[in-house]
Symmetry: C2
Subunit: 194 residues, 2 copies
């Protein structure tokens, strides 16, 4: 088993081969982890929330659900999940997002740069990052469509385990946006098992 520790507001990129399991752990609680993935040998095949919504018939990915690529191939399946609430709607936080939503003009750590930076070694650029699977992010939708970001339901030690259904290049970032993490950005731990 390989262990990876993500400091707050950082990201990491790695290969995850078919059958391997990725456990994403929230060691302190209330911390979001953005995950994005490409097919191992084809950057034109990427994690697609729109296909996952369609093929699973829901916006909430739960145990037993499959995360699909834009070509409708299974990428990751949800094997274990002690939280049962993750987001797949929001684009990753970005420099522009912090400027527009919060008026932050200075450079701010953000998931878009952390995900793209972690995958740069595989040839990925920021414009190739679509909507990540935002693990532990707690988004509610009112009947009129209004979105509300709540604090994550994850407590210290909670986790989700995803099994690779194809060979993948994966990036995970410990989310940098205070609003998603009950105003305190914390670390994320990863475990990769054969």
């Amino acid at each position: 088993m390989k262990k990876i520790h993500l400091d707050p507001q950082t990201g990491v990129g790695f290969e995850l081969l078919k059958g391997q399991r990725l456990k994403v752990i929230d060691p302190q609680g209330e911390q979001v982890a953005d995950l994005f993935a490409f097919a191992f040998d084809n950057l034109g095949e990427w994690l697609s929330n729109g296909r996952s919504f369609d093929h699973n018939g829901t916006i909430y990915m739960r145990r037993g659900h499959v995360l699909y690529s834009n070509r409708s191939n299974p990428m990751l399946s949800v094997c274990e999940d002690t939280v049962d609430r993750h987001d797949f709607l929001f684009a990753p936080c970005s420099q522009e997002m912090f400027q527009i939503q919060y008026g932050i003009e200075d450079s701010h750590p953000n998931c878009l740069e952390n995900l793209a930076g972690a995958l740069r070694k595989f040839g990925v650029t920021p414009s190739m990052i679509a909507t990540p699977f935002n693990i532990f992010m707690n988004v509610s939708i009112a009947p009129d469509g209004k979105l509300t970001i709540g604090k994550p339901r994850s407590k210290a030690g909670d986790y989700i385990t995803l099994r690779a259904e194809m060979d993948l290049r994966v990036a995970v970032a410990a989310c940098s946006a205070g609003i998603c993490n009950n105003n305190l950005c914390k670390p994320i731990d990863l475990e990769i098992r054969a």
Copy 2:
């Protein structure tokens, strides 16, 4: 004013310059039109549902809302809308989708190929098409996240008008999926005004 008629299950690509208005009309009723867009001179800047959800605070784009790019720049704003229900969650229908969801093995017209084909002259490939703005598509979300596709609320002659907030390359397809269009694929009409 330029008029474009889309036969059922076809698409078209065109330039829409800042300030121009695109009126998308459902001439017979209950017909979805998928729309996707890129910045005029940068295929790395594309229509982003995830940014639009974030900056508008809702999954339903209505009059006054702005559709944003992945770089958080305004692309299109909703000026007029006689229907008030459009989808921005579902990936465009595709050959693989028809195979998985409906067991269709033969070649089937689909929005992904129609959108990408219409934009091919600008250098676009299918893997560059993210989630379109699915005009007139009627999707409901239950509190548990379950998605239901209903028949469009659009009646014959209903329309939406979008104003370009930057110079754009746009594609629109008359959707090819029966389930989205009350089981009968119909035409779509477009009008472009200065």
